[in-house]
């Protein structure tokens, strides 16, 4: 089919790699607008971030795609498939998925700020995957923009040519056409044989209430048509394809997807695990004999307990987690039973941001009030009997006498920081038990690599790194290995009762200080009640810190006359509303935030 061959030559598949705030969303909106993907009135700001949370926080969580048609200066019309990528370090795993569907990537760098570590990590991923990386200098309209310096920095740090990088401003629209021209010229068309047996890579799958599982795929070889019978290669299950098509960014049925193209496939699959991300689709007729190389499954890095405040919500909480996990293959959960908090779930997350987002979605979209316990990393424990256990919950740490050695997870953290803040960053890393392995100067920036305990990194490290460098330092990290460490469990007791949900695992050297800070923090967070409340921190049977929430002296309205009744009623109702969000432990009412107090200590 000559028409098809022609098409494939004019296809360009690309992603955008950019740091948060460097203008990825604005740039994608501009590209869509320029190519007429949406009428102006349909341009809800930042169309690709379709979840409310994505738009509010200005971040992308899920990969999405859009197919555009661009008539280039050479007179030809090109099909541009743009696959969006998440920008936050928690979601770097999803980036590699998006990149797997592309031949090229736009490296968008803020011309005023320069390269950031996260961008760099993603950029290296792209280069490793043999993608053509096209540097773009954005925000050149800013008075503080230094395109030449930043171009040099890209060359120096990333190691790609950037002197003639496109200069644009997604905000004002300057240079947008140049970006499109560069995509067409520099990114190669997809290879692949339309006549060969079908092989399509599942870049992402999500569950839609009306359509079932929708899979975003990149067709590597062959042609997929609606009505074909497809086979999911890992499971061997076959399904009749209902619909195929593109996102323009509206879902548009085309009836056919050819080799080189990116689009959606809907085949009436009811469970997201029926179309796993990274899997290969083929057809039952003339099936491919080999699956495409997929990508490794993401593993949760931190675990936290999540418990509904009201036990009546348990069922709806379980349903909500089930629904969320339909769209989030990296979300892991299993039932957990806490003496203090009752029935809930142990939930695994990619990182703290992921955790915050899940908690927010559960509370907002599913209207469930939750208590989240302090997140913890996974420790490897060698017991004296020679067995090894993985511990993702402080409560499950074996008794001290049974433990031979505890190993904590260590990450390799790559930090990019302007020279003037290097000292602060080093101080922070040392404070967090870090060990420097590499330091390279690139012009104004320094790339420094540390081995750091993951437990220290996942908590507040990112925030502190940002504040100690006035926002300039950036971070990327990945798990490196387990390392022996002198860890202990600090238990918290409220009025003498051990509260399992408040236990934390910490390094012995920090345990005294953190215990003290923690009981102090708890004292501030727990409101005065009808009796004194003793808060103690203990290691084993040894009390290391103590504080007391003093008794509330009285809780009485000073006055109340005839006309006051309605107003006073409102006042008391409001007080009670506040209490509803507290958990009663024994007879002590403990607010939600107290369970996350661990995060506030050790600063």
């Amino acid at each position: 089919m000559p028409e098809q061959a022609f098409n494939q030559k004019n296809i360009r598949n690309f992603s955008i790699i950019a740091h948060i705030d460097h203008g990825k969303s604005t740039l994608s909106d501009r590209l869509i607008q320029f190519c007429g993907g949406l009428a102006d009135r349909e341009m809800a700001e930042q169309v690709l971030d379709s979840m409310d949370i994505e738009r509010e926080r200005g971040i992308t969580i899920k990969a999405q795609s859009v197919t555009l048609h661009y008539k280039a200066k050479d007179g030809e019309t090109y099909q541009l498939n743009f696959i969006d990528t998440p920008g936050h370090v928690d979601f770097s795993y999803e980036v590699s998925r998006s990149l797997a569907g592309c031949e090229g990537a736009l490296l968008v760098v803020d011309a005023a700020q320069g390269v950031e570590a996260q961008t760099l990590a993603n950029c290296y991923t792209a280069l490793e995957m043999n993608l053509e990386v096209v540097p773009i200098l954005n925000k050149i309209d800013l008075p503080s923009a230094e395109p030449m310096r930043v171009a040099e920095e890209i060359e120096d740090i990333v190691g790609i040519e950037a002197i003639d990088a496109v200069q644009c401003s997604a905000k004002t629209g300057i240079g947008i056409e140049d970006v499109l021209e560069r995509i067409v010229k520099q990114i190669p068309p997809p290879e692949g044989d339309p006549e060969a047996p079908v092989q399509a890579l599942i870049i992402d799958s999500w569950f839609d209430n009306y359509q079932g599982v929708v899979s975003l795929v990149r067709v590597k070889n062959g042609v997929i048509r609606a009505g074909d019978k497809m086979k999911v290669m890992s499971t061997g299950q076959s399904h009749l394809i209902d619909k195929v098509g593109f996102f323009s960014p509206k879902q548009t049925e085309s009836g056919v997807l050819r080799s080189g193209e990116v689009g959606f496939v809907i085949a009436g699959i009811k469970d997201i695990h029926g179309a796993p991300v990274g899997d290969t689709l083929t057809l039952t007729k003339n099936a491919a004999d080999k699956a495409l190389p997929g990508f490794k499954k993401s593993k949760p890095q931190v675990y936290a307990g999540m418990f509904p405040i009201s036990s009546d919500d348990y069922e709806s909480f379980r349903d909500a987690l089930g629904k969320l996990s339909l769209n989030d293959a990296s979300l892991f959960y299993e039932p957990e039973n806490s003496g203090a908090l009752g029935f809930g779930f142990r939930v695994g997350f990619l990182g703290m941001l992921h955790m915050e987002i899940i908690q927010e979605r559960l509370e907002r979209e599913y209207d469930i009030d939750l208590i989240t316990t302090a997140p913890t990393v996974v420790y490897k424990v060698l017991k004296k009997d020679g067995t090894e256990v993985m511990v993702d919950n402080p409560t499950n740490l074996p008794p001290i006498n049974d433990i031979d050695t505890i190993f904590e997870p260590i990450v390799e953290a790559n930090i990019l920081v302007p020279q003037e803040y290097l000292g602060n960053v080093i101080t922070l890393c040392v404070d967090k038990r870090g060990y420097q392995t590499k330091m390279v100067y690139h012009g104004k920036q320094v790339a420094v690599t540390y081995e750091l305990p993951m437990a220290e990194v996942v908590m507040d490290f990112f925030d502190r790194l940002k504040s100690t460098s006035r926002g300039y330092a950036s971070l990327d990290y990945q798990f490196k290995h387990f390392q022996e460490a002198d860890m202990v469990r600090v238990d918290i007791m409220i009025n003498g009762d051990r509260v399992d949900a408040l236990a934390m695992i910490t390094h012995r050297n920090n345990s005294q200080g953190r215990g003290r800070e923690l009981v102090e923090k708890m004292r501030e967070l727990i409101p005065r009640q009808m009796f004194d409340i003793a808060i103690q921190a203990a290691i084993g049977g040894h009390i290391i810190a103590r504080s007391t929430v003093k008794q509330l002296r009285k809780n009485v309205l000073a006055k109340c006359y005839g006309g006051d009744v309605s107003r006073k009623k409102k006042l008391l109702a409001k007080q009670k509303e506040g209490k509803k969000r507290m958990k009663t432990l024994g007879n002590v009412e403990v607010p939600q935030e107290a369970f996350l107090a661990v995060l506030k200590v050790g600063k």
């Binding site: 002296r553 809780n555 009485v556 006309g563 009744v565 006073k568 008391l572 009670k576």
Partner: protein
């Protein structure tokens, strides 16, 4: 049987608005339209006559705002008008709230001639700097004079209002204030803690209040002082010499009925129905301008209190009286079965905030300190 009936009359004007006050009061911009307002009050009462249901008035309370901005003549006309519409019970208590300003003090005798039997004087503090901070326009000397004067008028009783827990107040400051008040020998003292109410100047710019421990010491020591001086505490903030409790306020706390006339006044009226009783509340138009507009109805809104809310309303009021609560009275006043009250108090009982026997509920020592906790289980379940 219907509960006893009281009448509240609201006078909405003040010379200036105090920063802690959340009552319906309006700073006076010109002379009070006395005649027009009295006429309107009597119209208001006339429209409510059906709610009287053959009951005499046990008490009348003219509150505000600052009722002592009205002339003695006006009060006379008002009270005459009321008596023509509703008979007064023997010994009907008629209270008027007054500011201890020189100008008002001169009117006291006239008020007594008009029928007022009790004055309630808003002293609030005897510290000049505190008075200023509270937005009061009188000074300590005027307050003393007003109290002295009130004692010589042949009134049945009078009350002095005193606040504590004032901005930056120390224990010694508060005790000095209280000593000063006791020395004036009022038969009744309303001694209440300053609370920051929403929608007040203090709420938008909160002053530095004493901490909980100081407040507690003030309350403990002040209470002892009042008891030693011969006062009895009969409500959270009300202290009286024997025989001088306020009938009118007791009626609120005993969940009696009341008519409210004047700007923003509230009524609570019990109505017998085929299947027991129901309680109706009503609120009058709040702003003087609207209230004085002859073309507009005086009732702003009225509603029937939901059955579910009756235990809360009953106990929120009655618990304030530090005395045994007759179980029979709950049934009488709410029309609900006793079981509803027992249910509402169950968790307070396990927390030992409430005790009971066959006929009465008793608030425990602990319960008196945590009245709001007793009410907790009754509120917000709608």
């Amino acid at each position: 049987m219907l509960p006893p009936l009281a009448l509240y009359i609201h006078v909405p004007w003040c010379i200036q608005k105090c920063p802690y006050c959340d009552f319906n009061s309006h700073a006076l911009k010109q002379d009070i339209p006395e005649q027009a307002y009295i006429n309107r009050l009597l119209d208001d009462l006339r429209a409510d006559l059906a709610d009287v249901q053959q009951r005499p008035l046990n008490s009348i309370f003219i509150g505000g705002g600052t009722p002592s901005l009205l002339s003695a003549d006006a009060i006379n006309r008002l009270l005459q008008g009321v008596q023509q519409l509703i008979p007064l019970a023997p010994n009907c208590e008629i209270t008027l709230e007054a500011n201890p300003g020189t100008f008002e003090i001169e009117r006291f005798a006239g008020y007594v001639r008009a029928g007022v039997t009790r004055l309630s004087i808003g002293v609030q503090s005897l510290s000049a700097s505190q008075l200023q901070r509270l937005g009061r326009i009188h000074d300590p000397e005027q307050a003393r004079l007003a109290a002295k004067h009130a004692g010589q008028l042949g009134l049945n009783s009078f009350n002095l209002d005193l606040m504590h827990g004032l901005p930056e107040q120390t224990l010694a400051d508060a005790m000095a204030d209280l000593d000063g008040i006791i020395a004036l020998q009022p038969p009744h003292i309303s001694w209440y803690q300053l609370t920051i109410e929403p929608n007040t100047a203090f709420a938008s710019r909160p002053p530095q209040l004493p901490d909980d421990d100081i407040l507690w010491d003030i309350q403990q020591q002040g209470h002892d002082k009042l008891i030693a001086a011969g006062y009895q505490q009969y409500e959270v903030s009300a202290y009286a010499k024997p025989g001088h409790q306020s009938k009118h306020n007791r009626n609120y706390w005993e969940f009696g009925d009341y008519l409210g006339i004047g700007c923003g006044a509230h009524s609570k009226i019990t109505v017998m129905t085929d299947n027991g009783l129901s309680i109706r509340r009503c609120e009058k138009i709040k702003h003087p301008q609207g209230y004085l507009d002859l073309t507009r109805p005086l009732r702003y809104r009225s509603w029937t209190v939901a059955e579910d809310e009756l235990p809360f309303e009953f106990f929120m009021n009655y618990l304030r009286l530090f005395e045994a609560i007759p179980k029979q009275l709950f049934v009488e006043r709410t029309g609900l079965e006793l079981a509803r009250a027992e249910q509402a108090l169950a968790s307070a009982k396990t927390k030992q905030l409430i005790d009971d026997d066959q006929q009465y509920w008793h608030t425990t020592e602990l319960g008196r300190r945590y009245l709001n906790s007793i009410l907790d289980d009754m509120v917000g379940n709608d």
